[in-house]
């Protein structure tokens, strides 16, 4: 094998693999520190996620959210942008979905309302990303900082709206009235029941299919259209993009809109799919989780689906784990997310010097 080939193996396969393993290993260490047998915990976790029908449903339901936010972060990454604002975009995107569901004529067909609700999520998610994008492209303010600020702004806005504007009359807790039935995305167990199969009830709804559909769309868009090419070229080299006649400023705005729109889809799963009303913090943690998913999935839709599934397993399995073991809280998955981001992201080059020294030393070139 030539050295080039070895290097591409190291960078493309070994390094990501080592990184993920390290993150798992570190999680195991955390388990040991809090006096939990990691193997025992893993068993419970896996059983919780896959051992029974309801568990599988929950796992895939969580996976859906992670696919959306993971795709959002990945698309931005391809343009060289770090969209840390998935949290806020998901929140406001949910508002868009909810507005459609709450204010549209409920007698209309679900075949019309649901696509409109999806469009509402896409549109509002994009809207919440477009200001940071514009400011980065045309005013030179750093997108990371502005998207962080916009997360807090989204939170303040939503609290205000839910407390003062959208709260159902007579209702104490800040949440909207229920969506009409025609704005519900069908549960998978209902769909199966319709076909004559009975499966356990779970929050899993057809948004999961929509998430897979969007993964395919993102894949096609990034690698099989000229716009995707322009985005990836800009992400790799601003100068080369300019040279090619691509306008990087436009790319920044367009890409961030796409990214925000994808994050905005969390609302269709959470609101139209499960809660059937707008409420506080339905987005909580998915935006940041998306960063871990994208990093672990190497910004590729297939990788993202796998990584999202993993986090879905951890979310659902983690719940069961917390239930089974008194000393574990379900926040162990948050720790794990942090460790994945740390080892697959911040410390992604941790093993490179060692791997290169042993597997592709410079002498190997001759």
């Amino acid at each position: 094998m030539t050295r080039d080939r070895r290097l591409s193996w190291i960078n493309g396969l070994l390094l990501p693999l080592f990184n993920v393993l390290t993150a798992f290993l570190a999680t195991a260490v955390v388990f040991i520190l809090i006096d939990v047998n990691p193997i025992e915990a893993t068993k419970i976790l896996i059983y919780g996620a896959f051992g029974y029908e309801e568990g599988i449903g929950y796992t895939l339901y969580y996976t859906t959210n992670f696919i959306f936010t993971g795709l959002a972060v990945a698309v931005a990454f391809h343009a060289g942008l770090f969209n840390i604002g998935g949290e806020g975009q998901a929140y406001v995107g949910g508002l868009g979905t909810a507005l459609v569901a709450l204010y549209i004529d409920p007698t209309l067909s679900a075949w019309l309302i649901i696509p409109l609700g999806i469009s509402g999520g896409l549109l509002f998610g994009a809207m919440w990303a477009i200001i940071p994008a514009y400011l980065q492209a045309y005013r030179g303010s750093h997108i990371v900082i502005t998207t962080i600020m916009f997360n807090f702004l989204a939170s303040a806005l939503m609290v205000y709206l839910l407390v003062h504007v959208l709260r159902e009359v007579g209702q104490m807790s800040p949440q909207s009235k229920d969506f009409p039935d025609s704005a519900w995305i069908p549960f998978v167990h209902d769909v199966f029941a319709g076909m004559g199969y009975k499966i356990a009830e779970s929050p899993l709804n057809l948004s999961f299919i929509i998430a897979l559909l969007f993964s395919a769309l993102v894949w096609f868009f990034l690698w099989h259209t000229r716009w995707g090419f322009a985005i990836r070229a800009t992400g790799k080299s601003n100068d080369a993009a300019v040279y090619s006649g691509i306008n990087p400023k436009k790319i920044i705005v367009v890409t961030m809109c796409i990214s925000g729109a994808l994050a905005g889809l969390v609302g269709i799963n959470e609101l139209m799919g499960v809660q059937h009303r707008l409420l506080l913090d339905f987005n909580y943690g998915y935006g940041f989780g998306g960063i871990a998913v994208a990093l672990m999935g190497r910004n590729h839709p297939i990788g993202i689906i796998i990584a999202a599934l993993l986090f879905g397993i951890l979310y659902q399995g983690g719940m069961d784990l917390a239930f089974e073991m008194q000393s574990v809280s379900r926040h162990i998955i948050v720790v794990m997310q942090g460790l994945v981001i740390l080892f697959c992201g911040g410390l992604e080059y941790l093993y490179r010097p060692i791997l290169i020294r042993f597997l592709a030393p410079i002498e190997a070139s001759e």
Binding site: V30, L33, I34, D35, F82, I84, I131, L135, R139, G140, S141, H142, V144, I145, T146, I148, M149, F150, F152, L153, A156, L157, V159, Y160, V163, H164, F288, I291, A292, L295, S327, V328, S329, H331, I332, I333, V334, V335, M336, Q337, G338, L339, I341, L342, G345, G346, L347, E348, Y349, L350, R352
Partner: protein
């Protein structure tokens, strides 16, 4: 009239208390960013050290031990960030995000593991926490109109960490602008190559900067849990690390301007609490959320270049790779 004055003084008084952790965290950020390392992880360090401070203070019964442990924990996080962003030349923002999420998760599982509670530590009693100090001379000045009130309510009666925060700022200014370390710090954030070719260690300087940041964040976190409050509660830093980051940008990486920004943001926060449910003449009730969002809105407007320009140190967020 007197009522208004008293209200104002009380609001300002609250502002001092609220802006204290902002000052510590933003000064921490100042060191990091001046050295060329972006530190999104201020929030995580505050949260972690708040938790550790409360835990240690509760276990050992001393706020000082709590403070020491908090500083230690925060420094460990700072060194993780250093490892990722300095030694292994990873993405500094990603590393910062990791630290925030880690802190959020670890505080939750550790409260459960150590105190069998979901997200809180035992309440601290009496002198297990930092108590307010009455400054000398309150009795003497007290009978002077206005000045007496100001001295009693505003200046006296804070805990030691509040005074420390305000003393830190001139010290930071002095270090950054008057010492050899400060000169090198400013240089390494602008042009690390110039520092390298001057025979200095870019990595060493950046690690030092992060370590100082770790200490400051540790004090800030300890303040939140064992001075301003008497226990750790879930997510108790509530975005103060990010507000500190905003203040750092708003103050254009200059200690005194950053202090002013911290105070402004602290004041807005204190005001939001005071105005909750209050119906003002003409304007009516101001939504609390709007006031709370003001620091973020102001920072975005500033970043957009509509009120001056915030230009970060040139080398910030770029790992230093030695090449010609």
């Amino acid at each position: 009239m007197n009522d208004l004055l008293l209200n104002l003084i009380l609001t300002l008084d609250a502002s001092f208390r609220v802006c204290t952790p902002l000052i510590f965290a933003s000064m921490a950020g100042l060191f990091a960013e001046r050295s060329g390392v972006v530190d999104i992880g201020l929030e995580g360090k505050l949260l972690m050290s708040a938790f550790i401070a409360a835990s240690a203070a509760s276990v050992f019964g001393s706020p000082w031990i709590g403070l020491l442990f908090a500083i230690f924990a925060s420094c460990i996080f700072a060194m993780i960030h250093g490892l990722a962003s300095i030694t292994f030349k990873g993405n500094q923002i990603v590393s910062g995000v990791a630290i925030n999420i880690l802190a959020s998760g670890l505080t939750m599982i550790l409260t459960l593991a150590w105190f069998k509670s979901g997200g809180i530590t035992p309440t601290l009693q009496g002198d297990e926490r930092f108590l307010s100090i009455t400054l000398p001379g309150v009795d003497i000045i007290d009978h002077i109109p206005i000045l007496g009130v100001i001295y009693r309510e505003l200046i006296s009666g804070h805990n030691i960490l509040v005074y420390l925060a305000f003393a830190t700022v001139p010290l930071v200014w002095w270090v950054v602008y008057r010492t050899r370390f400060g000169l090198r710090l400013r240089a390494v954030g602008e042009n690390p190559k110039a520092v390298d070719t001057a025979g200095l260690s870019v990595e060493g300087l950046r690690y030092k900067a992060l370590l100082i940041g770790g200490i400051l964040c540790g004090i800030g976190g300890a303040y939140i849990a064992i001075a301003h409050n008497a226990q750790f509660t879930k997510e108790m830093t509530a975005g103060q690390g990010f507000i500190a980051l905003a203040a750092l940008i708003f103050g254009k990486w200059h200690p005194y301007k950053v202090l002013a920004a911290c105070f402004l943001f602290g004041f807005l926060d204190a005001l939001a609490v005071r105005l909750q449910g209050v119906v003002l003449p003409v304007i009516g009730e101001i939504p609390v959320q709007l006031i709370e969002a003001t620091p973020y809105i102001l920072t975005v407007i500033l970043l957009a270049g509509f009120i001056g320009k915030a230009i970060p140190p040139k080398a910030s967020a770029q790992p230093y790779i030695k090449e010609l």
